[in-house]
Amino acid sequence: MSKYHNFMQRPLSRREMLTICKGGFGSLAFMSLFGATTFSCSRSKTALDSSSNLLLGPHHLPKAKNVIFLYMDGGVSQVDSFDPKPRLAKENGQDPRKKFKVDATQFDNVGKILKSPWDFKQYGDCGMPVSDLFPHIATCVDDIALIRSMTSQFPEHTNANYFLHTGSGLQGRPSMGSWMTYGLGSENKNIPGYVVLDGGLIPPGGLDNFKNGFLPASYQASILRAGPQPVANIIPKENVPNLQERKLDFIKQLDDKQLEALGEADAIESAISNYELAYKMQSSIPELTEFKEETEATKKLYGFDSDDPHTRGYAAQCLLARRLVERGVRFIELTCPKVSADRWDQHGDLKDGHEKNAHAVDQPIAGLIKDLKSRGMLEETLVVWTGEFGRTPFAQGTDGRDHNPSAFSMWMAGAGIKGGTIFGRTDEYGYRVIENEVTVHDLHATIMHLMGIDHEHLTFRFGGRDMRLTDVHGHVIKDVLA
């Protein structure tokens, strides 16, 4: 490699340093010509600054440096997982409309009250009840803060997905991962700050769940997939050793000449150094997905030896997530594995569908929490587990459950989280929240808070407004914080 010395990381040059500073006060100088305009950089950023990759830095001391977002696409049934409702068993088979007001549902095929096919047991020192769907996660309850009073505004997948990911039910808004990296940057220069691990199912609404919206494109998620090419265009196509380096060297030589002739051209200069990063990513990314240095014990903990291929697949995703955290990636989302029928969206055959989905993710998730903990990483890593909404306590048809945005359960573990907590309450059917409602905006505010961001102050001016992930809503849920 030494032969290609041009193509190496170098310290900031004097000019680069000046460039950095000049941009900043250059704009101030401009402002003073017309008086300070609305774009003072001290408070908010305008769309105009968007080409400049601004960073805010944390507003306060963060508890979490990284987030692993375990997305349970399709909507896990709360009354079958973390919110036991004995009354459903008592009134199994009765007409729900005689018991309570039933909202319009997406399929409008309201059946009878349906008891949970699973038993609940109490676990841990805290005694948190968990259904038999999640025997492994159940062993981690003392690290988990459970919220049983989540609500969404949308009973449709796509709106609810966009809402959960971007704080808006509409398409095209920046995802929370984009906001985090916009606010905090990545800690690693060779890996993007926001990564989605595609487990096989991209949620309804597509990649726009992970896009940058009106934030600069730099903040969109990079999609990582298992396999020989984990990220688009990451594998060089040159089939001769060192050929790519030779080419890049040649390119840099000519580019530098051009730059010299131009005098000052910050944009060109930045574009040139961008190649250095791209070049490095080519080795740092594939290295990530090779688990060579992982011990058998670790792999087993995650479920690499499972008979279920979906468990093995999700185990690899979870292990990859830990490795990304180790490398300083800010925000990592895992999408669901493609379990036979569908993701968690069991409009019919609840028992079979939920069981298969749970089996795929249960052990890997517990493995992840334990692994993080044993490495001392859980203290700085926030693990979030949630779907986009819950399911109805009554059947859709005879053996399914329809979408229910009026109540669902989610949990968090790790950095800054008070383990063994249960927050919020639903009615006796688990249909509606009756105490301490937590909205998606509140969840966002809380995640941001743990990351050291004041959700009201991370803004981006677009379309005449200072936009926020939480719009004009959101409260930090203090009760689940340590």
Partner: protein, 1001 residues
């Protein structure tokens, strides 16, 4: 280091975002980076008072920015957040007596002005702005405020709300004069003019989005005539590629997409025809005022516009821009869905044409701009009164003429027969008048087509003609013997089946359990449109649509009970929505007798409405009597003279339609209430009349139209006194040419937008644009022939410190090409570009990373069939990675200005994307196909293809060394030819990666 210092540092143009991160991790280093220059150059906010105060302090340019930034959140136009009843956005407000006594502003007397007192106050709980807002006025800002009050505290409307004016002295000024004037003031040195190679590359790319052909470069270089530059500019303005480039600019404004996104990414019918419309419009230099009118009201223009070559009706196609929004799959709350959709339509319309962010006033009056919530809901009514509809994109002059001829013949035949019958039977026709009372039989009539007209229902397209079939004589084919008169019905096959048309009821409130339509037809559709909701389907809304495919008359019943209380209309049309993609089979037709609403059972008898019969026509009962007379032989009539007329209709051109686009038509005029806090569940008591924005000329005149009022909206925007329409558009043109607008926030001319860098120049251009007939091409030519445009990008003299962002254009700004220009440039350089104009989109090439619901079954070709990027499919849920990575905006709202990011994914595309590799190989092949080129000539060919210039000696030498090294590395066996190709491919690929290729330098 406190967080304020942390946040107040702006980092422009850092080499990569990852370097910032370095900084963040190493706080010490950040401090070092930031503090040092702050001392050296006194650049901090608090130290920016080195610049002398202006002689005259201007409210718009000096004062308002301070007030907006620091005061308006609590003392601005929005009463809901106003504190101490003080508003500083109006003269009256600022000079009114304060609650606690005194006056905020006493013109001429800063010392008596409470405002001055409070901003200089020492007490934490008295000082303004309050410390908790984190705002703090600088000494300079305070000095400006003081001087302004001293000078009389003159208030002005926001600059962009003042109609453009030009000083008498500047009447004959041109662009360069305005620019030079400011350069002189700032003591900036102008860069020399760029060389001819640079100029032709710049003009070709900016006007057409493609690099110039080497032969054109050579021709231009050798053209020494005085107007060589002007001729070159004309050449590119007249190139068809010009329209493709500028249409794509426009498509960013209207969130152009070919699918609706959300769960299943349904197609938007014929979206690409709107793209082709734009290309034609720009190439034909359609005047901007007309373009605007066609967008807003192309379906209701009094004077329609037809394509001069094809005769196709153009003007209605533009309305597709309303329909480019996203579409939710089965929303449970359709009223909210409608509100979201309309919000997006208002947002796009007002940003695009007025550079205003009216959507900010959805929940409350705008916090900064003089836009009220009432303004928003005045626009809301306009959009709510607008209906989505498939339009026949191939309607033409000749079809309209044919249809008119046939209708004339029909009318003649009908009248002739009717007169004869009247002669014969005048005493015997008994007009039957039963009272028709609504709800007599437990039903309500919504539309009765058994009389002569459509009972107040609206039609689009030609299919339904100008009335029902009532009284039309059926004659024996040869003899002309009268067989009977037709009973009344609305029919879409008045001419023939397969003709496009729609029949829609006025809006009504659903108050019964059922809607019923008596109809028959073939491959046709009846839909109940509730709250303008279009994506009707399983699982919730499936019952609101029924297909009609039976030659027998049937009662079509719709259970609308779940939507009682909602607003709705009925839509009857030939053709079907196939996965929401409209199509019209050639045999499709639909006929309807009436539509009713009822509870429980379909009424036993649905009586005809009792209408005054028009003099020449018979009522339905009259017709029945006459037919009885014919049948029993009491009325025998023959019209042999009409046979020829009837036959002549068969000779006419076919009217069948087979090309459709999703656009709009007018619905029932609806004024909307204000939704309190933006919630439709909380409507205000009073409705807001539909009108334009109250702060702008014409803004207080309610629209009179019976439809939506979109035409009046367009006219208000084009009113001579409107201060925004022209300014916004010339600024967009300037932006596309210089990479930066005179107003940088091209979509926001409001108080939060940037101030113009050259206000007089902007006004000059805006006035000129209007005076010269809104010609976009003329405006482009005017700008690109200025010296300012022709300057070199060279920047190695000192001005950068005085104007680091090149606001004042001492040199031409270096800029990266847009995603489309990069991709098209690669195709063009490799000579793989298929320059075919127009047509259906090329399906998206799907990588393994592009998955999810709605994924097309097959991937498109890797090279996009060699077509320009504008012809590549835009699927919301499967956006092309190369396009988005190089900053094509995500299509959800107006983006007049693209980001220019610099991320590794861009480098990775150029380094490793199979498309780029493929094109490198093709290019190498094209190179080697030219026999007898020397090495130098080969390099020259490549440089001309890619950079529009010849290589230097040094570059040839570099190339030669590089090639030698590559050859060595490849060390392959195989034939020489193959090795050559391999090596040249690596060279071409490397050249694609040069910054000179993706930047305009």
């Amino acid at each position: 280091m406190n967080k304020e210092t942390f946040r107040s540092k702006e980092f422009y143009n850092l080499t990569t975002m990852f370097k910032f991160i370095d900084g963040i991790r190493n706080v010490g280093r950040i401090v070092a980076l930031c503090v040092l220059p702050a001392i050296l150059f006194s650049c901090g906010n608090s130290n920016s008072n080195y610049e002398p105060l202006p002689k005259t302090v201007d409210f718009n340019f000096h004062i308002r920015p301070i007030l907006v930034q620091n005061c308006y959140l609590c003392h601005g136009p929005d009463p809901s957040s106003r504190k101490a009843e003080l508003r500083l956005d109006t003269y009256e407000g600022a000079t009114a007596e304060l609650k606690e006594g005194g006056f905020a502003v006493v013109p001429g007397k800063p010392s008596k002005s409470q405002l001055m007192l409070r901003i200089n106050h020492e007490h934490e709980d008295k000082i303004m702005p309050p410390p908790e807002t984190n705002s703090k006025l600088t000494q300079r800002e305070k000095a400006l405020l003081e001087k302004w009050i001293k000078q009389g505290a003159e208030w002005k409307p926001h600059w962009s709300f003042i109609t453009p004016i030009i000083n008498e002295a500047d009447k004959n000024a041109r662009i360069d004069l305005f620019v030079d004037r400011q350069l002189e003031q700032k003591e900036l040195t102008k860069a020399p003019l760029a060389n001819k190679n640079t100029l032709i590359r710049r003009v070709a790319y900016l006007l057409t989005g493609l690099p110039p052909a080497p032969k054109d470069v050579k021709a231009y270089i050798s053209d020494t005539s005085e107007d060589a530059y002007g001729k070159m500019v004309d050449y590119y303005l007249n190139s068809p590629a010009y329209g493709e480039r500028w249409a794509r600019h426009w498509m960013d404004l209207v969130r152009y997409a070919e699918t609706k996104g959300h769960e299943f990414d349904y197609a938007i019918t014929g979206a690409w025809k709107y793209r082709d419309y734009l290309i034609r419009a720009f190439n034909n230099d359609l005047p901007y005022d007309q373009l605007l009118k066609e967008h807003l009201a192309g379906d209701v223009l009094e004077e329609k516009r037809y394509d001069s070559e094809t005769g196709i009706l153009e003007s209605q196609i533009a309305t597709a821009f309303y329909a480019m929004g996203e579409g939710t799959h089965s929303p449970v709350d359709i009223k909210q869905d409608e509100a979201n959709r309309i919000d997006n339509m208002i947002d796009v319309t007002t940003k695009t044409f007025q550079g205003l962010t009216v959507s900010c006033a959805k929940c409350h009056d705008h916090k900064f701009d003089p836009i009220t919530a009432a303004d928003y809901y005045a626009m809301y009514g306009v959009m709510e009164s607008t209906r989505f509809t498939p339009l026949n994109a191939d309607q033409s002059v000749s079809k309209e003429l044919t249809a008119k001829e046939i209708l004339d013949i029909n009318s003649y035949v009908k009248t002739t027969v009717a007169e004869k019958i009247t002669e014969e039977l005048s005493s015997q026709i008994t007009s039957n008048k039963k009272p028709n009372l609504d709800a007599v039989n437990g039903y309500k009539m919504i539309g009765d087509f058994r009389n002569t007209d459509f009972d107040g229902w609206a039609t689009t397209g030609l299919a339904f003609g100008d009335g029902t079939t009532l009284g039309y004589p059926i004659l024996q084919t040869f003899s002309g013997k009268l067989l009977s008169l037709e009973e009344g019905k609305a029919s879409s096959r008045i001419f023939e089946p397969g003709v496009m048309g729609t029949l829609r009821s006025p809006d009504f409130i659903l108050d019964s359990d059922f809607i019923g339509v008596r109809a028959r037809g073939e491959q046709s559709t009846i839909r109940i449109i509730v709250d303008n909701f279009q994506l009707i389907q399983w699982p919730i809304y499936g019952g609101l649509t029924q297909s009609v495919s039976s030659a027998k008359w049937n009662n079509y019943k719709f259970n609308v009970e779940p939507w009682k209380g909602h607003k709705a209309y009925i839509e009857i049309l030939p053709g079907i929505y196939d996965q929401h993609n409209f199509r019209l089979p050639p045999k499709a037709f639909i006929e309807a007798q009436y539509a009713i609403s009822y509870d429980s059972e379909w009424p036993r008898e649905v009586e005809t409405s009792n209408k005054e019969k028009p003099s020449k026509d018979f009522s339905l009962d009259g017709i029945k009597a006459i037919n009885a007379h014919i049948k029993n032989g009491r009325l025998k009539l023959q019209f042999p003279e009409l046979v020829a007329a009837i036959d002549s209709r068969k000779l006419s051109k076919p009217l069948k339609d087979n090309s459709f686009i999703y656009g709009v038509s007018d619905g029932s005029a609806t004024d909307s209430p204000v939704f309190i806090r933006g919630r439709y569940q909380e409507p205000s008591e009073e409705n807001i009349p539909r009108r334009f924005l109250s702060a702008l000329p014409q803004g207080d005149i309610p629209f009179q139209s019976k439809g939506s009022g979109r035409l009046e909206l367009a006219e208000a925007m084009l009113h001579g006194d409107n201060p925004l329409t022209s300014r916004v558009m010339v600024n967009r043109i300037w932006h596309h040419l210089f990479g930066k607008g005179i107003v940088e926030t091209v979509d926001n001319f409001g108080l939060q937008g940037k101030l113009p860098s050259h206000p007089q120049l902007l006004d000059h251009l805006a006035i000129k644009f209007q005076d010269e007939g809104w010609s976009i091409k003329n405006m482009i030519k005017y700008i690109v022939t200025s010296e300012t445009f022709k300057r070199s990008t060279l920047n190695d003299f000192e001005p950068s410190n005085k104007d680091p962002n090149n606001i004042f254009l001492a040199s031409f700004p270096i800029r990266r090409l847009e995603s489309e220009a990069i991709r098209d440039g690669i195709l063009s350089a490799a000579q793989s570009l298929d320059s075919t104009l127009y047509g259906p989109p090329i399906p998206t090439y799907l990588t393994q990373f592009m998955r999810g619901r709605g994924m097309p079954e097959e991937s498109g070709p890797l090279d996009g069939a060699g077509r320009r990027s504008i012809y590549q499919e835009v699927r919301r849920n499967f956006l092309e990675p190369m396009m988005t990575t190089f900053d094509r905006p995500i299509p959800f709202t107006t983006f007049g200005r693209r980001d220019v990011t610099n991320v590794p994914a861009q480098s990775l595309i150029l380094m490793n994307d199979p498309f780029v590799i493929q094109q490198s190989e093709i290019m190498a092949g094209k190179l080697l196909a030219q026999k007898n080129l020397s090495f130098d000539q080969k390099i020259e060919w490549i440089y001309m293809q890619m950079f529009s210039r010849k290589p230097t000696e040094k570059e040839i030498e570099n190339a030669s060394q590089f090639m030698a090294a590559i050859e060595e590395m490849k060390d392959m066996d195989g034939a020489d030819e193959n090795r050559d190709l391999e090596v040249w491919k690596e060279y071409c690929h490397s050249i694609f990666n040069l910054k000179e290729f993706i930047y305009l330098i």
